[in-house]
């Protein structure tokens, strides 16, 4: 059977009392939370340097000097951590025909009329948007971040002198700040959507969702996972 809409490990966990479908294995969840924690720490420490009114946030880390060296290190952790998530998720986040319909009917999405929307695979267009926005922004942030990492400037000077020039660093600072605002907005959207769509959070905590959740939001995914069940239903 083709695996078009689901991940290899996705399976029906139980039928009773309600159907539960596994969505993320433990390692993926751990990977997600390392990324999430890094992003939160980066946002807090980055905002401290972004706006004077938020400089007090540097106190959470032990002061501005600590933020100066810690922020870029967490940035590298986030990059590597997200890269592992990317490897696991990129395929199911490729755009499909039904995504255009979903976007066109965003009003129905917001109103909760999902019966008017096409059946979807593991991710809807909104989730795919978050995924690709995160991917692009993280790439931009790591490159510009490395360019303005004062202690590493000598690396650029040796291997790519153009990136160590002051005009290049100015642009990197501006682009870094803009992308950081962008990623915080995407982050807010991501967290908001996870809360608003009830029953979603458990996918990243316990690792599974109810059948009804899958039926409502990701029916193609549910169908494919169900079709893969060749074991008889559990007692």
């Amino acid at each position: 059977m083709r695996r078009e809409y689901s991940h290899e490990g996705d399976h029906i966990e139980a039928l009773k009392p309600v159907v539960t479908v596994s969505r993320y294995r433990g390692i993926t969840r751990a990977n997600h939370w390392v990324t999430a924690l890094s992003l939160i720490l980066l946002a807090l420490s980055g905002l401290a340097l972004f706006h004077p009114s938020l400089y007090f946030l540097s106190g959470l880390f032990g002061g501005g000097q600590v933020v100066r060296w810690l922020h870029p290190i967490i940035g590298v952790v986030l990059f590597l951590s997200f890269f592992l998530l990317f490897l696991q998720m990129w395929k199911l986040n490729l755009p499909r025909r039904e995504d255009a319909t979903w976007v066109a009917r965003i009003g129905d999405v917001m109103a909760g009329h999902e019966e008017k929307l096409p059946e979807l695979g593991k991710y809807n267009a909104g989730q795919k948007g978050v995924f690709w926005a995160m991917t692009v922004l993280i790439l931009v942030l790591i490159v510009t971040g490395l360019m303005i990492w004062e202690q590493q400037v000598h690396l650029w000077r040796d291997y790519a002198p153009w990136a160590a020039t002051i005009p290049a660093r100015r642009i990197a600072l501006l682009v870094h700040a803009l992308s950081a605002v962008g990623i915080i907005l995407v982050f807010i959207l991501h967290v908001y959507a996870a809360f608003w769509t009830r029953g979603t959070l458990r996918a990243m905590t316990r690792g599974n969702v109810t059948g009804g959740w899958a039926f409502r939001h990701h029916r193609k995914w549910l169908r494919e996972v169900a079709r893969r069940q060749n074991t008889p239903p559990a007692e």
Partner: protein, 338 residues
């Protein structure tokens, strides 16, 4: 406090008062403080000071560098001689001022001119370093025009390096603070001129009120023009609001001849938009998005799964599982991978 406050210095040439005197550069004399929105209006306005560097009188002896090292107690590394006169090779966190030597073949006269410029902080009236700085109080500007780095508040991020239109600040790689010329603010505070001006044997470096220095520069320019330097002029770039370190140049029409002195320095528009629109609009966008998400989360109807949907899901799963699976529907190439 019985000690009197020191007078504001008007020259570096005179000997300073010898009796102990209290600092006359006070926290209340600050007109700008980095990453601080509302600086209280100073109670008094200090006389604007300036250092005038007459490039035409400089003999390149580096006494100013030596005096700077001695006064500021810095320890520039001993470097290798690579066959140029600059020593050290560049401004460093331990070398706040540097004689830069340029050889210029004047196409008008055919002469080889040896242009020597003492490089260092220009003490801009509108300082780009201060604008870029994210650490409150790490960069300050006094009402007499001196721009000073306060190491205790500095976090060593290097934003000032990008903010400066003259490429002056240098980050100390072990102390992790930014360093540059202070215009000897600690000497000026007690009525003395900068160490470099004091040490200069030809008075190519002079110090005094900005008005006096402009008047002196005009005298020098007139003299230079009368002796064939038609383009002699004062370098006090208005793009940064004027500077408190000024040059008399024999070729004021071509400042770039002097080791790349910028012709029209200003705070880069990139830095302006980063520290202007991006900062305010960005923070507002984040704040609005966060507030909107919280409010919508509390008051709007959540997207809930119904019991009916749970039931339909169960039917779907049971029905699918009991349906016969055609054996040919699993191509082997699709079994591996993610």
């Amino acid at each position: 406090m019985t000690t009197e406050r020191a007078p504001q210095p008007t020259t570096a040439a005179a000997n300073p008062p010898v009796q102990p005197m209290a600092s006359n550069l006070l926290p209340t004399d600050l007109v700008r403080i980095s990453a601080t929105a509302n600086v209280p209006a100073p109670e008094r306005q200090l006389t604007k000071v300036a250092k005038l560097i007459d490039v035409s009188k400089c003999i390149g002896c580096k006494a100013c560098q030596t005096a700077c090292i001695e006064w500021n107690d810095t320890h520039p590394a001993v470097e290798e001689n690579v066959g140029v006169y600059e020593n050290p090779h560049d401004l460093t966190p331990e070398m706040y001022t540097l004689m830069r030597f340029s050889e210029y073949e004047n196409p008008g006269t055919g002469d080889l001119e040896w242009l020597i410029r003492k490089d260092g902080c220009m003490h801009c009236e509108d300082p780009g370093c201060l604008k870029a700085c994210p650490a409150p109080g790490a960069i300050v500007q006094y009402s007499n025009g001196i721009v000073d780095f306060i190491s205790a508040n500095c976090i060593g991020c290097g934003y000032c390096v990008s903010g400066c239109p003259f490429d002056i600040p240098r980050i100390h790689q072990t102390a992790h603070v930014s360093k540059k010329c202070t215009l000897c603010s600690d000497r000026v505070a007690v009525g003395q001129g900068p160490a470099c001006a004091k040490a200069c044997p030809t008075q190519a470096i002079t110090f005094g009120t900005k008005d006096d220095m402009i008047a002196l520069a005009n005298e020098r320019i007139e003299d230079l023009q009368s002796r064939g330097y038609d383009n002699a002029g004062l370098y006090d770039p208005q793009g940064v609001g004027g500077t408190h370190v000024m040059y008399v140049l024999h070729h004021a029409d071509k400042p770039g001849l002097y080791a790349g002195l910028p012709a029209d320095p200003r705070i880069s528009p990139v830095v302006e938009s980063w520290k202007g629109t991006t900062k305010t609009v960005g923070l507002a966008a984040i704040g609005l998005a966060a507030a909107g998400a919280v409010l919508h989360g509390i008051f709007a109807k959540a997207n809930k799964v119904s019991a009916e949907e749970e039931h339909e899901a169960e039917e779907l799963v049971v029905k699918t599982a009991s349906a016969p699976v055609p054996p040919s529907s699993v191509p082997p190439e699709n079994r591996g991978g993610l």
